[in-house]
Symmetry: C2
């Protein structure tokens, strides 16, 4: 089984599309740059699979962050600078991986695709 | 003036939110990893500004890709693997930069935020 990265997005914020796109990009870049280059290269060579998942709210995001860190997965919790639609410092999403699909699915396998 | 990255998304595809998020993430990661590490580090230290912009269709995306490349900006044109909602090989979005805001605005300054 190959590598993937997942991005958990808070659905309670009802982010507008452009904001959703930029927050997912933040999570993906930060989690990738915190990962080992070997893993990132392998992941990209397979197509760099990324899946965006639904998290209900901040509590759920923090719960999955803790679970992922406990399993030594790379995580990147993203806080919006808040220049526009959101309050400054709003936590919007969480990037996990890239890592082996099975390791990630063990943590986030029950979450629904956004 | 600081650094930013822009992500142009085809509005004619009417991407569902999850797909939009993953395609923006692809564009952001690929354009960042094609850029020099010094520029990426500087950009991230300022907050890693990313702005998602509207492109009407494939022709417009290709036009901006050509304009950006002519100005020696880093570009990453993203093609979806098409396992789900899109036809395989559909070009979805374009990442440009990170680079100096003024250099990027010279190319994409007239595009609207998604």
């Amino acid at each position: 089984m190959g590598y993937k990265q997942v991005i958990l997005v808070r659905t309670d914020l009802k982010l507008p599309k452009g904001k959703l796109g930029s927050q997912c990009a933040h999570a993906s870049v930060e989690a990738a740059l915190k990962s080992s280059r070997d893993v990132v290269d392998e992941w990209r060579s397979e197509g760099g699979k990324k899946v965006v998942l639904k998290a209900a709210d901040l509590n759920e995001l923090r719960k999955y962050e803790a679970l992922a860190r406990k399993e030594k997965l790379t995580t990147a919790l993203i806080t919006d600078a808040g220049h526009t639609t959101l309050e400054p410092g709003t936590v919007t999403c969480l990037g996990i991986g890239p890592d082996k699909e099975e390791r990630i699915d063990r943590i986030t396998g029950k979450l629904k695709i956004l």
